[in-house]
């Protein structure tokens, strides 16, 4: 899981629009002494402008103090050494903004529920994994004590591997994935932490292969999606009904539409809430551009050209249909790329294998239909391409704002540089993208496929400027 390596510090480190300190001191040097970096700690590395909005349930003096103090390092959380070592092994150095605020609240006793909304790639997963690990009694290696639910098998496996990585020094930590085909029918669940999809978890509980009597904590990741979708929402409610009443419930997502929020508050009663304001939702470190294609048939060639314009680690290409996924795969392989094409046509284990190729780096291009937009974290993804603009509604009439956000959130993980390029080629796609841009207040940069030298220069400039100012505000002084 080097994937997640050092996800933790980004947001707090992101430079702000504050005016840079007087450039590299001159006087100090003459004296042979060295200038401290601004205020001696961090003023040069300005703090992020966005604020984490916290709503406490019930005004308890204790919680207040926890909240305003926050934590500056993982040590302050008083986690066991084994967990801390796991964080260090992953190059985690200090807590992200959301971790700073959420962890003291989630770790406090008695346990309280939490609803947390934060941008993709800001360390949500690590936040709830730390909470889970700190709640589990490792002297009971096979007694289930924590349950984590995710909307897809991919995400469940990913969370499982994060727990195993952070918990690599925790002896007797057993994590099982409750997804189709992975829990032995003979033994049932024999782990202290269980990560699964709601359907499979429900089946296991019903068949009495999953002893829920001592569960202390439940986490729902991508909660907006889980509680909203017809089938899964019902399943989540039913699963909850089978669990101990006093279980600590944590709901996490990058987005929480209002109606889902109302439901979430019922689901996790009396919860603390941590939330970001709407316009802060797009990850500003991601340079968002669009490519003006002369017509649809040119998109393939243009796509291949993109890979010479900038340094790209891994990339994800979102397409609408399986057919175009296959065609793109063919063309890109001919161009020397190693490609995994993942869509609904693939089943279970096969999907696992394709995604594992991508995670391990055996393939560096992932072409996918919508199934993967959510939650999948491969930290070296540096480019996301919307080969087709995400649409929703009857006859695909409406641009799909949330999906756009989740898609571009696959890059720029944890404060790294990321680029997203959306393809437009006709009126409809152009209008759809414009609406998305308006909705989130984005300033998309236009690229043209006729002069690649010029396009290359432009892309490099865009990357450079966004890297300099992840929290770019139009009026901030720059240069």
């Amino acid at each position: 899981m080097a994937d997640l390596a050092s996800r933790i510090t980004k947001p707090s480190d992101a430079p702000v629009d504050a005016v840079p300190p007087a450039p590299t001191a001159t006087a100090g040097e003459g004296n042979g002494t060295e200038e401290p970096v601004d205020d001696g700690v961090n003023k040069g590395l300005v703090e992020t402008t966005y604020d984490v909005e916290v709503k406490l349930s019930g005004l308890q003096a204790d919680d207040e103090s926890l909240l305003y103090s926050g934590v500056a390092s993982f040590e302050e959380l008083g986690l066991p050494k084994s967990i801390n070592d796991g964080l260090l092994a992953m190059n985690f150095k200090k807590p992200s903004k959301i971790q700073e605020k959420a962890l003291p609240l989630m770790l406090s006793d008695p346990p309280r529920n939490m609803i947390a909304q934060s941008q993709s790639g800001t360390g949500k997963t690590a936040a709830f994994v730390l909470t889970v690990l700190s709640r589990v009694d490792l002297t009971k290696p096979t007694q289930p004590q924590a349950l984590l639910l995710a909307p897809s098998r991919e995400l469940a496996r990913q969370i499982q591997s994060v727990i195993q990585t952070i918990g690599q020094f925790c002896e007797n930590l057993n994590v099982e994935a409750a997804i189709p085909g992975s829990i032995s029918r003979e033994t049932g669940v024999r782990a202290n932490v269980v990560v699964g999809t709601p359907g499979t978890v429900m089946d296991l509980i019903r068949r009495r292969q999953f002893d829920v009597s001592q569960l202390k904590i439940m986490v729902i990741d991508e909660a907006d999606n889980m509680l909203d979708q017809q089938g899964m929402g019902d399943q989540c409610v039913r699963v909850k009904g089978m669990l101990p009443k006093e279980i600590q419930t944590l709901l996490f997502s990058a987005t929480f539409p209002e109606k889902v929020m109302i439901f979430a508050r019922k689901y996790a009663t009396n919860a603390h809430e941590i939330k970001l304001r709407h316009t802060d939702l797009t990850v500003k470190g991601i340079s968002q551009m669009y490519m003006d294609c002369p017509d649809e048939s040119k998109k393939y060639d243009i796509l291949c050209k993109l890979y010479g314009l900038m340094t790209i680690g891994s990339s994800v290409i979102f397409v609408r249909t399986r057919e175009s996924a296959s065609e793109i795969q063919r063309r890109m392989e001919a161009d020397g790329h190693k490609v995994s094409a993942l869509h609904g046509a693939h089943e279970g284990q096969n999907r696992d294998a394709l995604l594992d190729d991508f995670r391990s780096g055996r393939s560096k291009v992932l072409i996918t239909t919508n199934v993967l937009a959510r939650g999948i974290d491969v930290s070296s993804v540096s480019m996301v391409i919307n080969y087709d603009i995400p649409m929703k509604g009857f006859g695909d009439k409406e641009p799909d704002m949330e999906t756009y956000l989740h898609r571009i959130g696959r890059t720029g993980r944890f404060g790294r540089v990321g680029v997203s390029i959306s393809f437009v080629y006709d009126r409809k796609s152009y209008d759809a993208l414009s609406k998305i841009a308006d909705h989130y207040g984005l300033d998309l940069v236009q690229l043209a496929p006729d002069d690649w030298d010029a396009t290359e220069t432009k892309v490099q400039e865009v990357i450079k400027s966004s890297r300099a100012r992840p929290d770019y505000v139009p009026n901030a002084s720059d240069k």
Binding site: A2, A5, S6, T9, D13, P15, P20, P23, T24, A25, T26, G28, E29, G30, G32, T33, E34, E35, P36, V37, V41, L45, V46, S73, D85, L88, A89, N91, F92, K93, K94, Q168, K305, Y307, G308, M310, T311, I312, G313, S314, H337, S360, G361, R362, S363, K364, S379, S380, S382, F414, G415, R416, V417, W452, D453, E456, K464, P470, D478, K479
Partner: protein, 541 residues
């Protein structure tokens, strides 16, 4: 059978006269099924068979002789080359030792005038994160005595005299050995030890990179920082190419495409997980582009490569390119290739260090290609110049993360006039540390080519970090060190055996334990030691 039949028949026809008549005769003749005829045919066939076989054997014998001759020739040439190199090395060392002896006398009278010299360049250090050009500052800047260097355990301490020579050999031009030479390298490290004297500043926050740099420089070089110079020259090369493109449409038409192709191919390299040939297409593509550049079809101007190598070079017998110039497009593309590799280290390996390895393999393979050597040696200095700028701690530079100047020396990048966030800086360092290891720990023992970046440079870089005085240990160094070691411990040990284990102990146990502050970066070195113990059974503590 199908293949061998027709010729045989034809030879029979030829032997028997006009083919056409014979065909007819054969078909119409009364005796075509007779035993005599059958025997006759068999005999003819056998004769033909023998003839072919004899001919084949003769050719085979000749070929063997030719090969043998060639082998002897090659062997002789190699020997001659070896002797020549050894002679050159011996001469170099002698010269260096001489100079060294001379130089020690020089600094002593100059302690006071020197410090201002350090300051001046730092002030105009507007180039982000480029540490100020260095000068040979005497170790005893403030009159304080030098600190006792830490030594690597289990390795005999040796005088520092051989060091410069050793470092000298680090440059490919004079590197005569393919295989690593543990003992020798150890010498050099200890030697560096001896030279890594430093004078802590009054506030304890600052270090004196110039000191370590001067230690790292072969005494022959009075030039302040040749790598920084090369780096500057490369920037000028880029501008030069852009100018050429304005008046040369052929060049303009091709240059951008070649650049993007190289960048794309480097980006396409994937982790191999031990499978051979995974990145063959990409590697071939890069070689093809560089060869195309070398052929200079685009008629770029010729240039003297001397401004891009550390040491002046003279023609070497048998080298493919001995001329005083090479096509500028070729040098430009080598520069682009190095740049692409560094960018890949920073952007991709920063997040996932394991992705550095295929890039390292590709860099080593490409730059060692005989076609791309100039006067017998690789152009890897172009790569090193970039490393020197983006990751100075590999070259012995030190500094405090809490000061402006310290950050500059540590290679903390600036964007838009501001320091990049700490996380981003540490990511960069991780990627570059892993990248450095991925190039320098390649095994060329089975290759005919000369390793352009042998393991001793890895050792040297590690030594420069772990020999930092305790008070000056920085998180940046810890992060680079960790990235250099992680996933490469096995290769390191393969090259250096027990010396490597001792070095690992120094890096992962002693070094963090004497760090003044137990930051997360420091602790992560100790955790790496734990992981090695758990995963490989290697006990260092």
């Amino acid at each position: 059978m199908a293949g061998s039949s027709p010729p045989r028949r034809q030879s029979y026809y030829l032997a028997a006269g006009s083919p056409q008549r014979n065909v007819l005769e054969e078909i119409l003749g009364d005796d075509r099924n007779s035993e005599a005829r059958h025997r006759y045919l068999l005999e003819t066939a056998k004769r033909e068979h023998d003839r072919v076989r004899e001919e084949a054997e003769r050719v085979y014998r000749e070929q063997l002789q030719r090969e043998e001759r060639q082998r002897l020739l090659d062997a002789r040439r190699k020997e001659e080359e070896r002797i020549k190199l050894e002679e050159a090395l011996a001469a170099d060392r002698a010269r260096l030792n001489e100079l060294k002896a001379k130089k020690i006398a020089i600094p002593a009278p100059l302690p006071d005038p020197e410090p201002p010299v350090i300051v001046a360049p730092a002030v105009n250090g507007n180039v982000p994160a480029v540490p100020p050009p260095t000068n040979n500052v005497p170790a005893q800047t403030n009159g304080t005595t030098s600190q006792k260097p830490t030594t690597i355990p289990a390795v005999p301490k040796l005088p520092s005299a051989p060091v410069p020579a050793q470092i000298q050999t680090q440059t490919p031009a004079t590197a005569p050995h393919k295989a690593p030479e543990p003992s020798k390298t150890v010498n050099s490290v200890l030697g560096i030890n001896g030279l890594l004297n430093n004078t802590p500043q009054p506030n304890g926050a600052a270090s004196n990179p110039e000191t370590s740099r001067s230690a790292a420089q072969p005494p022959t070089q009075t030039r302040p920082d040749k790598y920084a110079e090369i780096h500057k020259n490369l920037k000028m090369l880029r501008k030069f190419m852009a100018d050429q493109a304005k008046s040369n449409p052929t060049l303009k038409g091709r240059m951008g495409d070649m650049r993007r192709e190289i960048r794309k191919s480097v980006g396409q390299l994937t982790v191999t997980l031990g499978v051979a040939g995974v990145n063959k297409t990409q590697q071939q593509n890069i070689l093809r582009l560089l060869r195309e550049a070398l052929s200079n079809q685009v008629q770029s101007e010729l240039m003297d490569p001397s401004s891009f190598v550390l040491e002046p070079r003279n023609p070497v017998e048998g080298a493919a390119h001995n001329d005083a110039t090479l096509p500028s497009i070729f040098l430009y593309l080598i520069n682009i290739f190095a740049k692409a590799a560094i960018a890949q280290f920073i952007n991709e390996a920063g997040a996932r260090p394991e992705t550095a390895d295929p890039v390292g393999v590709c860099v080593a393979a490409t730059l060692s290609d005989p076609d791309f050597l100039w006067r017998g040696s690789s152009l890897i200095d172009i790569m090193l110049a970039k490393f020197r700028i983006v990751c100075p701690v590999l070259f012995g530079y030190r500094g405090s993360e809490k000061t402006e100047q310290g950050r500059q020396r540590l290679g903390w990048w600036k964007d838009g006039g501001q320091w990049v966030p700490e996380q981003q800086h540490m990511d960069r360092m991780t990627g570059l540390g892993a990248g450095f290891a991925s190039i320098s720990l390649r095994n060329f023992a089975m290759s005919k080519k000369t390793n352009p970046f042998p393991p001793r440079v890895y050792w040297t870089a590690m030594a420069r970090i772990v020999n930092t005085p305790s008070a000056e240990i920085s998180d940046t160094q810890c992060v680079v060190l960790k990235a250099m070691v992680e996933n490469y411990e096995q290769k390191f040990i393969e090259f250096y055996g027990t010396a490597a284990i001792a070095a690992l102990r120094t890096a992962l146990v002693d070094f963090p334990s004497r760090a003044p502050q137990k930051s997360a970066a420091v602790n992560s070195l100790e955790v790496l030691a734990q992981m090695l113990k758990r995963d490989t059974g290697l006990v260092l503590g």
